[in-house]
Amino acid sequence: MNSAAEANARPGDVQSLRRRLIGFIAVGEVGVLAAMALLVAFFWLLEPAFLSERNIRAILNVVSFVGIIAIGQTVLLVAGEFDLSVGSVAGLSAVVSAKLMTAAALPVPLALLGGVGVGALVGLVNGLIVVKLRIPAFIQTLGMLFIGQGLIQVVTGGYPVYPLPPAISTIGGADLFFGLGWSFVFFIVAAIVADLMLRRTVLGRNMYATGGNQEVARLVGINTDAYKIGAFIAVGALAAIAGMFVMADLASGGTSIGSGWELTVIAGVVVGGVSLFGGAGTVAGGVIGILMLKVVQSGLVVVGVNANWQQIAVGVIMVMAVGLDILRRRYFTAGA
């Protein structure tokens, strides 16, 4: 091969490689996944104990609770709304089901179903008010956050519901594999189902259309109101399930279950590339975002950073992640 041909060939190769690389990065989840891998390597180098079995298990366990809610929140964000009341709903459902199985002496499965029902009902109320009365989701769900916290106190009188039937501790204490229990299994199954739902079904496609431009979606015959209300109900039910898994884990209907989760969940899915403005993002991305947030928190603990700095790190990471995401979008939509 003569040198001229070589010189001609190389830029082409580099370009096609570059294009392929860009295409790869353009897939939202890959960026977050790469960032997470870097962070894991970083913490591991600083402190090998970060990748100890115990620590990995602890991270996955926490992620399984919050992650269940993140799945619903991602779907709701895709449909163009969001829910700040998920933490309260998780706590409320947990204490209600705990009361049902203790004070009301209902069989455990029925009591758990009651808890899910509470979550779904709150979701329905949120959805109806946001969609039909056109009250902004921010206001409605923020109000519901307070209402839920108040109801937790009303239901419990301020004391944790304890003791719970032994079946609950059996669920909470199960060791299915690697020391992980039912909450993790549920989380993984729900994540896969929801991801496929958004990616592959008519339902999912209509969800993206609804969140992308509600008027267009309406004009092509999509019942956008039903989609939004449905997503609100799904978030409520999933929050309830997460809350009850925590209750099983603690073997107690604690009054602080779920408090503060709403912002962790939103921060996490946003880090994972789910748009706050609707119509963009995947469940895989949202779940990876939550995982990354927890990796950072845990990593900072393991390497011995002061707890106050951990909060600061979470804040910085969230803003950075969204900033990078916006840059990425701008770069790709600018026609690279």
Binding site: R200, T201, V202, A209, G212, N213, V220, G221, N223, G278
Partner: protein, 520 residues
């Protein structure tokens, strides 16, 4: 009539501008003297707004060729703010007010400090606003919130906002579009006072009776050129209509003969559609039919209710009336119902209510049409892909792949993509709102051919287009709409642009007469 200073205060010489190869203005001259109200007329697309945007700095100097002179001195406006600072004011057609602020704050928006520091004195603002209102004869309390005002009052607030800066030249873009008869009279009283103060005004309108009532001179634009300039003593509706329609280069439309003996695909009776927020015109008691294979056009000016008729039929807005499809009465409350009845709508504004920018080209075509491409709710990827590719081929949508972003497609390709979407369900009746808006000449032709092909397959078509020449060339039958009513109807060959403009002008004159009688 006051004496008009014959030395022009504000003039434009040889203004030319093009947008991406399309020549919008081809050397326009215009001048206004102090105390003159100069009408600027022309059909949609004649170049009126482009000219006004150049004159008030929206299109900055350098983006056009030609000279603007103020007091005989050449001026170059880099922005609307620069134009304002030089004494050239502009009242846009759209009402731009801050609803949550008071009238006084709106009048002084952007300079509520009155140039004297950081603090805002509500009292002083209100006093200043009251003075301006008094001077202009506007009867609005400066203290109330703009949210409580009617659209006519809002327009007066916007005019006051422009007047506060004491402009020597004032441009008004269709200030009466959303006003009723008595409100128009109030506005004219204000304009007459400004005229007496020596303000030079450029008045854009579609309404000939208003030109006759208040303007001193008129310039008619056509195809980006001045068609004619008329002095007040020569004002004559005939002249205006003739010069606005003119004889343009004949464009070729594919041949299509109106179908004979087919059944109606759409029958509309007593259709009533409410007007937009603020606008008074909706659709009032309209009835007509569209035969299978027939192309029917709705002609009329912007805001006459053309689009509202389409929206009412499609269930996009709440409407009352009887709608029948293929002889069967259907109850349409939502777009979903309309689609189920075999009706499809192509909206006017691709960016606002057509494309989904969060989905790629392929998903934009199949959205709403996924039913047959799915089994048990699961989209069958292979089938969807082949349906997309087939649709893209059939309509000649040029995109690198079904995964490409719709953002980078040309206007023409975006429009063909939307055609692919609405045609995927093989509708019986297709409602087209400005189907060739913002598309290149070649695509325009493809769209004309497509419309005729669909008609030949027996689809009924109801078309709205602002370009009368296009509408008349394409349609088998035209219904002329004015103020939400059908005022004329004619078949291919029975009339042209002139007939439409004449019918609209006659309707406007009638309306004005009745409101004047009512107010007396």
């Amino acid at each position: 009539m006051p004496e008009i200073d014959q030395q022009p205060l504000f003039s434009a010489v040889g203004i030319a501008k093009s947008f991406g190869g399309v020549q919008a203005l081809r050397g326009v001259d215009l001048d206004v003297s102090a105390g003159e109200i100069h009408a600027l007329l022309g059909q949609n697309g004649a170049g009126k707004s482009t000219l006004v945007k150049i004159l008030n700095g929206v299109h900055p100097s350098g983006s056009y060729s030609g000279t603007i002179r103020l007091d005989g001195q050449p001026v170059a406006f880099a922005s609307p703010a620069a134009a304002r600072a030089s004494g050239v004011g502009y009242v846009p057609q759209e009402i731009e007010v801050l609803e949550q602020l008071s009238v006084a704050e709106n009048v002084f928006a952007g300079r509520t400090g009155l140039g004297e520091g950081m603090l805002v004195s509500q009292r002083r603002l209100q006093r200043h606003a009251a003075e301006i209102f008094e001077e202009l004869g506007i009867d609005i309390d400066p203290r109330v919130y703009v949210a409580a005002l009617t659209s006519a009052q809002r327009h007066l607030v916007m005019i006051a906002r422009a007047i506060v800066l004491r402009p020597r030249v004032l441009m008004l873009d269709e200030p009466t579009a959303s006003l009723s008869g008595t409100e128009v009279d109030a506005l004219f009283a204000v304009l007459r006072r400004l005229k007496a103060q020596g303000v030079a005004m450029i008045y854009i309108t579609h309404r000939l009776p208003e030109v006759m009532a208040i303007c001193d001179r008129a310039t008619v634009l056509r195809d980006g050129k001045v068609a004619v300039q008329i002095a007040r003593e020569d004002f004559d509706a005939e002249t205006f209509i003739f010069s606005m329609s003119g004889q343009r280069m004949q464009r070729l439309f594919p041949e299509h003969a109106a179908p004979v003996g087919t059944k109606p695909v759409l029958e509309v009776n007593h259709l009533n559609v409410p007007g937009h927020r603020g606008a008074i015109h909706g659709v009032r008691d309209v009835g007509f039919s569209v035969m299978a294979g027939e192309i029917v056009g709705l002609a009329g000016l912007l805001g006459s209710g053309r689009s509202e008729i389409l929206h009412g039929i499609y269930g996009r807005v709440a409407a009352t009336g009887e709608i029948g499809v293929e002889g069967k009465r259907v109850d349409i409350r939502t777009p979903r119902d309309a689609r189920a009845a075999g009706i499809a709508l192509l909206t006017e504004d691709r960016k606002r209510d057509g494309l989904l920018f969060n989905l790629p080209v392929g998903a934009n075509i199949t959205i709403g049409n996924l039913g047959p491409l799915a089994r048990n709710g699961l989209v069958r990827g292979g089938q969807e892909r082949s349906a997309i590719l087939a649709a893209m081929r059939a309509l000649n949508v040029k995109a690198s792949s079904p995964q490409a972003s719709v953002m980078h497609l040309s206007g023409g390709n975006q429009q063909k993509l939307l055609f692919a979407r609405v045609l995927m369900r093989a509708p019986k009746l297709l409602l087209l709102d400005e189907p060739t808006k913002g598309v290149d000449a070649a695509t325009r032709h493809e769209i004309y051919r497509l419309v005729v092909e669909l008609a030949e397959k027996g689809v009924g078509l109801l078309v709205v287009a602002s370009e009368l020449e296009e509408l008349i060339g394409l349609c088998d039958r035209c219904l002329t709409i004015a103020d939400g009513r059908i005022v004329d109807e004619f078949r291919r060959g029975e009339g042209g642009e002139e007939r439409v403009l004449r019918a609209v002008a006659a309707a406007q004159a009638r309306d004005r007469e009745t409101t004047m009688q009512a107010s007396q």
